[in-house]
Structure formats: C-alpha cells, structure tokens
C-alpha cells in the first residue's frame, strides 16, 4: 500500500506558490545588479553602482535612522505589550479574557492605512492631543508631533503591539504556574517570584517578540509615509519614492535586497540569543 497517499496532490500547489515567491525575489535580485537608465523603465547592463550608491551619506543615514526607529519601536512595544499579554494569559474571567484578546488583536486586521489615519487625527496640530493641551492652557502653540520621529514611533508601537502581544502570550501560556507557586511557597513575594521565575522563563518569547517587531517595523510603509510626511524617511518610503517618483527600480531593488539581508541578520542574532535561554526553560 502507498504509505503517502495524495502527497503529490497536496504538495504541488504549494510548490507552485513557492515558485511564485522565488520568482519575485529573483526578479529583485537581478534588478539590483543592473544599471539605471534615466528616462527608461528597462534597466541597463550588469553593474555594482547601486550598492556603491548605498554608501552615500544621504542613503546611509536613512539606513541608520531606520534601524534606530525599528529598535526603539521594538523595545517600547515590548514594555507596553508584556503587562497586557500577562493579564490576557493569567486572568480567569472568561469575558475579560475575550475582551483583552479582541482588543489586542483587532488592530492587526485593520490594516495600516486606517490605523495610521487615526493617529494623524490624534497627533495633528488641530488634533486630539493638541486640542486638549491647548484647551487646558498647558501650551500656547500646538506641539509638533506630526512629521517627527516621535510621532512615527508612537504610531508604529500601536501597529506592532498586536504581534508582540500574541508572541508573548504564546510564551507565557506555556509556562507552568506551579513554578511560581513553588517560589511563593518557599517565601518569595509575588514580585520576586515574577522576576526570578516567570520573567526568565518567558525570555524566549521576549526575544522572538522583539525580533519579529523589528521585522514588522522595518516592513511598515504607510505609517512612516503618512506621519513622517517625507521628513522622517525609512527604507520603505525611500524604496517607494525611488520606484514611483524617479522610476529608479534597480536602486530600489538594491535597497530592498540590503533590507532583507539586514532583517535576516537581526533574526539570526535573535535565534542565537534564544538558544541558551531555551535550555533554562526546558522541562
């Protein structure tokens, strides 16, 4: 008897889908090594000039700024997401659990445009926060939050939060509460039990969450584009600008390739960091 019935039937569509992704990535890779012909949509011959251009201060600066924004967002998101994930996993009230879960997850499915637009109304000069501040007489002139790194990071934290909550909650839900109880019965207060038992055990989730948040922030486009308004540039906005304003697809491709390399490097480092941590948590 055939031990693997229908294998081909199940795998062939997946192979086709994988080929489609591979073809798209190959297309980018190929364009990255072609010369840009101004005024033409077709690229020129083989060239390394795109990667040389990356080293120019103008573009190198965008890289540095992108990495900075991603790191900042990932760590702030971690601090904001942890208590929520903890409450979500530990509460025994079913209705509250559902409420927290829906609240945490809904933004994930709303898409970047709706969420970013909401933040424009919150952060704008005639927006929610400035109206309150000026209404209370705390400031005379609106505080500039649009088109600033601060505004972009606040909105990005909001965009990245659901993923972080899901990853942390997944890690926390796999920790046996008995470990904490054991610590408490040995005389540790709740704070000490958390710091010495639960927190270390959740570290694999923390590292996974931070690295995923980094990748998501790196991928964000609508938020830096709409809130940064051209004054806060990230790789994503630069790629779009190069593609659709100057039709320099070869350089856009080179930027994208470098971006993927950067993301994979960060994820690989995170994987290395998780390895010793998982040994602590193994049971």
């Amino acid at each position: 008897m055939n031990k693997r019935p229908f294998l081909a039937l199940f795998v062939t569509p997946a192979v086709l889908a994988a080929l489609a992704s591979a073809a798209a990535l190959a297309a980018i890779l190929q364009y990255a090594f072609r010369a840009y012909v101004p005024g033409s949509l077709d690229p020129g011959g083989f060239s390394l000039s795109n990667f040389e251009a990356l080293l120019r201060p103008l573009y190198a600066q965008v890289f540095v700024q992108t990495v900075w924004i991603c790191l900042l967002t990932a760590f702030i998101t971690l601090v904001v997401a942890y208590p929520l994930a903890f409450a979500l996993v530990r509460t025994r009230n079913v209705a509250l659990k559902s409420f927290l879960l829906i609240t945490a997850v809904t933004p994930l499915f709303l898409g970047e445009v709706v969420r970013t637009y909401s933040w424009i109304i919150v952060l704008g000069n005639t927006g929610f926060i400035n109206s309150i501040l000026m209404g209370l007489g705390l400031v005379e002139r609106p505080v500039q939050m649009m088109f600033t790194t601060f505004g972009v990071v606040v909105a990005l934290v909001h965009v990245t939060l659901p993923v972080m909550v899901i990853m942390l909650a997944a890690a926390l839900s796999h920790i046996d509460v008995d470990y904490e109880k054991a610590a408490t019965s040995l005389g540790a207060g709740p704070v000490k039990a958390f710091l010495t038992v639960t927190l270390p055990l959740s570290m694999p989730g923390v590292v996974a969450g931070v690295s995923t948040a980094f990748a998501w922030t790196f991928s964000a486009f609508a938020t830096p584009q709409m809130i940064g308004g051209g004054r806060v540039s990230m790789i994503s906005t630069l790629v779009y600008q190069l593609g659709f304003a100057s039709f320099n697809f070869p350089f856009a491709a080179a930027l994208s390739i470098t971006g993927i390399a950067l993301t994979f490097a960060v994820l690989a480092m995170a994987k290395q960091a998780i390895r010793p941590l998982e040994k602590i948590g193994a049971h």
């Binding site: 229908f6 889908a17 980018i28 609240t103 709706v114 997944a170 839900s173």
Partner: protein, 277 residues
C-alpha cells in the same frame, strides 16, 4: 526571613490594583485612536478639529457615494475572494502534508512559504511589480491575486496546522479499521473535523487580503486598486473626515467578525495563546 513593611496581603492587593491600572492604560492606548476617529467622523466641519462644534452624518454619505471607494471595495472583494480561497486550498494541503508526511525539500518549501512573514511587504510588492515588467505583463487582477496568495499563505498554513495537531488521530485509525480507504477516511472523518480550522484560516486570509496595503500599492493599477489604496490616495488629496467615517465602518465590521470568530472557533487556540484541551 526579612520582616515585611506592609502585611503581605495588603501588598498583594496594592500590586493587583497597580497591575490592572497599567493594563487599563494600555487598553486605553490601543482604543484611543479608534475613539478619536469615531468622534471626528460625526464632525460636521470639513476641517478636523477637536472637539467638533456641530454634528452630522454627511461624511458617511460621502464615504458611501465616493466612486473610488465603491470601485476599490468591489476590486477588493474580487481579489480577496480569489486570493483567500486559493490560499486555503494551497495552505491546507501543504499543512496536511507537513503534519503527516516526510518528504524531500519539506523544510525548504516550508521556509519559502513562510518567508513573507519576515520579508517586508514593500519588497514583495516591488518583486511582483518587476516580475510583471520583465514578462511585459500589465498590472492585472491576476498579478494582485498571486501576490496576495503569497502574503496570506503563512496565516492559513498556521491555522490549519494547529487544528490538525489538535485532531484525535485515533478517529482516522478507527475509520481505517472499519474498512475505509485512505481517501474515504480523509473525506468523511478528517475533513469534517477540520472545518473550524479551515474556516478560520480562510477568514484570516480574507481579512488580511482585503486590508493589505503596502504590496497592493506596488502591484495595483488604477483599474485594479483596492480599498486601502483608494483610501491612501484620498488622504493625499483631501483633508475632510470622510476617511474617518470609513474607518469607523472598518473598525466595527472587523471587530464584529473577530468576535464572531472567537465565539465559534476560539481565537486563542488559533493564535496559540491558550492551550487546547
């Protein structure tokens, strides 16, 4: 043992109150933009101000009658219907294959198909745009659909894979011992048991595809633009609260769908944040 400054029980209570206050603040941070958008959607004036001086429903009317939104909505439905259904067939089949069989290239194939989780959407969008240009194809629905299938596939695979893991394998063995051939057991036992997982996978894919923006901005043309792309173009042209009205509809429908999904399928299990028992 050290003596405590405050009795343990009161200390614990303070900690609990402090903890829940923090959680309440975080929930407020998550909900704040939605509330602000909802208020400004009913603002009568064309300029966004707080608090609104007078109220009206005119921006909802405009959201429903603005042509690009209607076209974007229709395009989105077409693209979503195809993309999520194709992704369901591809993803469910592959999740089954990963769960049950070992075959050559399994890991590589899995890595390739889950890579859109870490590869930026603008990169995937750019890739498909260049690919289309290379084969001299125009930006048709087919291009957008293929791009969306690739993007939502990891979510479908995950959803189906989780429900496969939670399946009781003995039921299939029982069917086989009663004389059912593999195909028969699959069709009459496994598939019906998988329906919640398949449905939630399809639903996630549909919501994600309908709302996908960044890659869509690259691969859609004027004729194929989806709702989020139309919304983005609107913000660049107008500053009135029409988009706020549309956002309110979006938020209500999405939260409703997710509550429904949670009710019937257990969102926590699908997202792996609680254990299936």
């Amino acid at each position: 043992m050290r003596r405590r400054l405050i009795p343990a029980r009161i200390g614990e209570r303070i900690l609990k109150v402090a903890g829940w206050s923090v959680v309440a603040l975080i929930v407020a941070f998550i909900i704040l933009p939605a509330v602000v958008v909802a208020i400004s959607a009913f603002n009568d004036r064309a300029i966004l101000t707080f608090p609104p001086q007078s109220w009206s429903l005119r921006w909802f009317r405009r959201a429903f009658t603005y042509r690009d939104f209607a076209v974007g909505f229709q395009n989105g439905l077409i693209i979503t219907a195809f993309a999520s259904s194709i992704a369901l067939v591809v993803g469910a089949g592959f999740a089954f294959a990963i769960d049950r069989y070992s075959f050559r290239g399994k890991r590589a194939l899995e890595a390739m198909l889950t890579s859109p989780l870490v590869i930026p959407h603008f990169t995937i969008g750019l890739g498909f745009l260049i690919l289309a240009a290379q084969v001299h194809a125009t930006r048709t629905f087919a291009l957008v659909i293929v791009c969306h299938v690739v993007l939502v596939l990891p979510f479908v695979m995950r959803s189906v894979y989780v429900s496969l893991r939670n399946l009781d394998g003995r039921l299939e063995l029982a069917a086989a011992s009663l004389g059912a051939r593999p195909g028969m057991a699959l069709w009459t036992v496994t598939l019906p048991l998988l329906i919640p997982g398949l449905f939630s996978g399809w639903l996630f894919a549909a919501i994600l595809s309908f709302n996908e923006f960044t890659a869509s901005l690259f691969v859609t043309a004027q004729a194929t633009q989806t709702l989020p792309v139309a919304m983005y173009n609107y913000v660049r042209e107008y500053a009135d609260p029409t988009l706020a009205a549309l956002s309110v509809i979006y938020i209500v429908v999405t939260a409703g769908l997710l509550t429904l999904a949670n009710q019937f399928l257990g969102l926590g299990k699908v997202l792996n944040v609680e254990h299936a028992r």
